[in-house]
């Protein structure tokens, strides 16, 4: 098996299967939670649930990241907060606004959107990689995190880290064989896709889910500021 055929496999059938596993797996996770059943809502609503949800997202995405010092999470472990934030931002920009990935979305969805200039995406990608390394070291030295980190956490870290480094190495031609790095990148992406529903990386979906639930609860009780 040479790199050309590996690449073809990783971009072709393997990617297809991985994506289907991802879709099925995430649906499973969501439905399994939803179908647990809801408690009957017997309390009269004091405010607007929709408002609550909107506020919850606005605060989580638009407000807290810019005034992190008011949050306990930040003051207790600024590295986790800052590196975590940078990592998530970089990952988001690279996946949704990098030129190469926009073309992937286009082929999957049939439509696409703008892409950011390469240098911006590049710096954020580099930032995300550095952030991941910082998070890795943090987990090694921070006494509390050390206790919380088991094999699953290390594996999650690795499965996310590999596609990021291989993608970065590919766009920067770290070795001249573009197709080799491309093949490695695609293989690691496929593994990631399969791994997400099985792991806590699925929080990318549950984050929005729980934000919405909490937000609507806050809204109902009219406790949103």
């Amino acid at each position: 098996m040479n790199w050309e055929s590996t690449l073809e496999f990783a971009r072709g059938p393997f990617f297809q299967v991985a994506l289907l596993v991802f879709i099925a797996g995430m649906t499973y996770r969501l439905v399994a939670v939803l179908a647990l059943g809801w408690k009957a809502d017997k309390v009269k609503s004091k405010g607007s649930k929709v408002n609550g949800i909107a506020m919850s997202f606005a605060k989580g995405i638009l407000i807290w990241p810019f005034i992190p010092w008011v949050k306990n999470t930040f003051t207790r472990n600024p590295i986790t907060y800052l590196a975590g934030g940078l990592f998530h931002l970089g990952l988001f920009v690279v996946i949704f606004l990098g030129a190469a990935h926009v073309l992937v979305w286009k082929s999957l969805l049939g439509f696409a959107w703008f892409s950011l200039p390469q240098p911006i995406v590049d710096w954020l990608a580099a930032g995300a990689i550095v952030a991941m390394i910082a998070l890795f070291i943090n987990r090694l030295v921070n006494p509390v995190l050390k206790l919380l980190t088991g094999p699953a956490e290390w594996l999650n870290w690795l499965v996310v880290f590999l596609p990021m480094v291989s993608g970065y190495a590919m766009t920067h031609h770290v070795i001249p064989e573009y197709d080799t790095l491309f093949a490695i990148h695609m293989l690691t992406v496929d593994v990631l896709l399969i791994w997400i529903p099985l792991s806590r990386i699925s929080h990318f979906m549950f984050y929005f889910f729980s934000k919405a639930i909490h937000g609507s609860d806050f809204g109902k009780r009219a406790v949103t500021p």
Partner: protein, 375 residues
Amino acid sequence: MPEETIGQHLKKQGISRRDFVKMCGVLVGAMGMKFAPPLEESGLPAQLNNVRDSASANLIANALETKQRVPVIWLEFSDCAGCSEAITRSQSPTLVDLVLNTITIEYHETLSAAAGFQAEKAKEDAMKKYAGKYILVVEGSIPVANDGVYCTIGGRTALDLLKETAKGAAAIISTGNCASFGGLPRANPNPTDAKGVWELITDKPVVNIPGCPAIPEATTGTIAHFVVFGGLPELDNLHRPKTFYAQTIHDRCLRRPFYEAGKFAESFDDEGAKKGYCLYKLGCKGPTTYSSCATIKWDQGLSFPIQSGHPCLGCTEPNFWDGGGFYQGQSAPLAPPTVTMAGAAVAAGAVLGVGAALANQVQKKGAHAEEKKEG
């Protein structure tokens, strides 16, 4: 007549020694020999030791003059004759002239004046006379489904003819993507089960010169290498001569600075296209395509597709036709799941999810019952 040396032949053709050395200079460039190779490795005769220090062009000239012309048999199977056309209309007359002077084409369906049984007879004679010495050039893929009936010449299948002709060949050169990797005839669903030569002939050295068509200089350069050194140039893992296929188009692309800066043409006639921006988003396959289009170029170095505003199609790679849409981004998956597939995945996930939830509830009820009993 191959019996006369190349030197004698050139003299007959009225080509002066001076012009000959000049041609050899072009040849040196085409073969990618910036410097004359060490004598031991080059396989040149020992009497050339005295010209060791002279320029490579002289070295080649001396080597060629004393050699006999090399007989070539050129077979066409499932092809479009585009590679032949490219060579005969090549705009590097010196190189092609030189190569055509150093070889004798014993059989070529498109070029030969003779036709029918006469031509076939000429081929058979040549095969006998030069057994073990001729170069076999193959253009076009070989269909092997149903015993190869999808391509026959004079009532015989391509597969049969290839095997027979390959037997006496000193080396085989597959010119174009079809002969190398199956090309267009092999495109999905490949009804004729078309194959490249190297998949069928494994007991002879086979060089692949893929391309659609193959760059004439790459074909002639490889033939020239054989004539000069009596052997084949260094090959990569896909049997392509490294001289012509060591770098990707992207490596040497003139639009590369725009790629690095993230400036892409979004359509064929937008502002970016007019400014010469990178064609990545229009489906360019340059990053994974190994070829020397960007350096040798076409029409005497005038231009090549990307320079003229069209993305690279990746014609020197295996699976050229099935390697993703021509105008689809290089990064796009080759087989994105269909809507039905995605729907089925969602349905499967939902069923499993409901099942898991039900199982949970049953367990919960059981636990409650248990509790009550105990309490």
